[in-house]
């Protein structure tokens, strides 16, 4: 069991305090909104990193869990008009159900089956939303979800708190014996078997945990946008999340969360560049990933704080 270094705790507190106070300095609902989306991406990215970053089994369809959580919230809050707070636990449950559906048959196999099954499952769900448009609202999606809180600022703080809990829980798990096994699975599954470890079980449970947090993030997103639509299931969302994790430093969890926040902010700031936006964004990512194959955030933080450990 690894101990979390005091410098990491201090750094974490500083970053969270900064994020919490940021909207106070420039009070605008626009900034608060952008930050809310940033933080939700942080939940998505760190939840991806927990399973795929630690076990090395890449999940190309994290949007399946995100969308499942979001649509659960959409159906519950808008169509069945339940109390919006029910969305969160049920979004988690439904996302976990999907993780079992895909993970159970494919995580026992070696090779690319799991990655491809995740990709296809998310694509299928996106199609199903269009096919069953009478229930899902088709392209338009579902409108009129109830907000969870009165003001955007309160909601931002709430979502930030959830991100903090997510990162703490996932980091503690990653540093525990459990996390050690997940990293061992990434290293060599045959050796794990020889060590008497049921690798399939650990992969499935870690996917369930990953899916649960992603579903929670999806439901939070739905209650921010007050609307859900099929692109939530899209491969673009999945790939964006994966890139965030790589920029953050794979397997670090906090790195994924911070990279998600920074990259989401970057996309927003590039809005001024109009059509060049995508070019600049893509180029930045390619440069980072090309020159820093281990990522930017976590390696940088480790380098900066080397002497303080």
């Amino acid at each position: 069991m690894k101990r979390i270094a005091p410098i990491d705790i201090a750094g974490g507190i500083l970053v969270v305090a900064f994020l919490a106070l940021l909207p106070m300095f420039a009070a605008s609902n626009y900034l608060t909104g952008v930050l809310t989306v940033c933080v939700i991406y942080g939940i998505w990215a760190s939840s991806w990193d927990f399973m795929s970053g630690l076990t090395g089994r890449e999940n190309f369809g994290h949007s399946l869990f995100i969308g499942a959580g979001a649509y659960t919230a959409g159906f519950l809050s808008s169509i069945w008009s339940t109390n919006p707070w029910i969305s969160l636990p049920l979004g988690v449950v439904i996302a976990i159900a999907f993780s079992l559906l895909v993970g159970f048959p494919t995580l026992r196999l070696r090779g690319p089956y799991f990655a491809l099954a995740m990709l296809s499952a998310s694509a299928i769900l996106q199609r199903l939303c269009l096919i069953f448009w009478e229930y899902t609202g088709g392209e338009e999606g579902i409108y009129g979800l109830d907000p969870l809180m009165k003001t955007p600022l309160h909601y931002y703080w709430f979502v930030l708190a959830i991100l903090v809990v997510t990162v703490i829980v996932l980091t503690l798990l990653a540093q525990s014996h459990w996390g050690l096994l997940l990293r061992a699975i990434r290293g060599d599954e045959a050796t794990c078997q020889a060590a008497g470890i049921n690798v399939t079980f650990y992969k499935i449970v870690s996917l369930m945990i990953s899916a649960g947090f992603a579903g929670l993030g999806g439901a939070l997103y739905a209650h921010y946008q007050l609307q859900v639509s099929p692109p939530l299931f899209s491969v673009v969302v999945s790939i964006t999340v994966i890139i965030m994790v790589y920029v953050g430093g794979i397997g670090s969890i906090y790195g994924a969360a911070i990279a998600a926040i920074l990259l989401t902010l970057l996309t927003e700031m590039l809005r001024g560049f109009g059509e060049y936006r995508l070019w600049i964004y893509t180029l930045t990512l390619m440069l980072i990933l090309f020159f820093l194959p281990n990522g930017l955030i976590a390696p940088l933080w480790r380098r900066l704080t080397e002497r303080l450990r």
Binding site: A190, Q193, A195, G196, I197
Partner: protein, 247 residues
């Protein structure tokens, strides 16, 4: 004494190649047995089958009276049969302690509550004491073999399968490792099955030898008899002649 392991008519074919041909033998509790055979005789394949890493084309294996044929490898380990790999397979990026710790997490080791203490103790047992935090990347071959043994021991095996633990080691290293294995056999009440392709190395170690050639068991007996066995001598001389011819 009861049979701990009972192998019955095990055959393994890879396409046209029969790597193991109708192998049958038994191991009694507490026995120290060696499997001898030149490279390519099918020894590792036999281990892979015993431990569930491969399914036999035909044949059955009973361990502790239970059919192990279609069990996943980790289940075989948790029934009490642990192995090492011929080509050592440590977890890269982890230190020695963590490498053993993984196996301390197996269900069979659930009684060991303090996993760190147990892993540390096992490292000391195999002669790697006090080096818990060392990374595995810089470990010499002999130490990697010891690490593999510590990891196998962490699962509290009844039967330990060692795949060529001496390969690539110098003679003093071999002697030290042999001492360790002998001690484990004596003190830990382990049944051991050890693969070796050189006759000399383990003649003083094992009490019984199963000799293989081209996938077949060609002789079984105490080492003194095996060294005199015609088929065994032929297998080895045949090999050397081939080697000379191709050289």
């Amino acid at each position: 004494m009861t049979d701990l392991l009972e192998v019955n008519g095990v055959t393994k074919r890879f396409g046209g190649l029969t790597a193991v041909k109708n192998a049958s033998f038994t191991l009694k509790k507490g026995e120290f047995t060696g499997i001898l055979g030149p490279n390519g005789a099918g020894k590792t394949t036999l281990f892979n089958i015993l431990t569930g890493f491969m399914q036999p084309t035909t044949g059955t294996i009973h361990f502790n009276g239970e059919l192990v044929r279609e069990l996943a490898p980790y289940k075989v380990v948790n029934r009490g049969m642990a192995r090492t790999f011929q080509l050592t397979r440590p977890f890269v990026g982890m230190n020695l302690l963590e490498n053993v710790l993984v196996a301390c997490m197996s269900p069979r080791a659930s009684e060991d509550k303090d996993k760190e203490a147990r892993a540390s103790y096992l490292l000391a047992q195999v002669g790697l004491g006090g080096r818990d935090k060392e990374p595995v990347e810089t470990l010499p071959y002999g130490d990697l073999r010891r690490l593999e043994i510590a990891r196998a021991l962490a699962t509290r095996p009844d039967l330990l399968l060692l795949d060529e633990p001496f390969a690539g080691l110098g003679s003093s290293e071999i002697e030290q490792l042999a001492q360790l294995i002998r001690r484990l056999h004596r003190e830990e009440n382990l049944t051991i099955l050890l693969i070796e392709h050189k006759l000399r190395e383990f003649m003083a170690l094992v009490s019984r030898v199963i000799a293989m050639n081209f996938g077949e068991i060609i002789a079984v007996g105490p080492p003194e008899e095996i060294v005199k066995n015609e088929k065994v001598i032929e297998a080895y001389i045949g090999k050397t002649e081939e080697a000379h011819a191709s050289a």
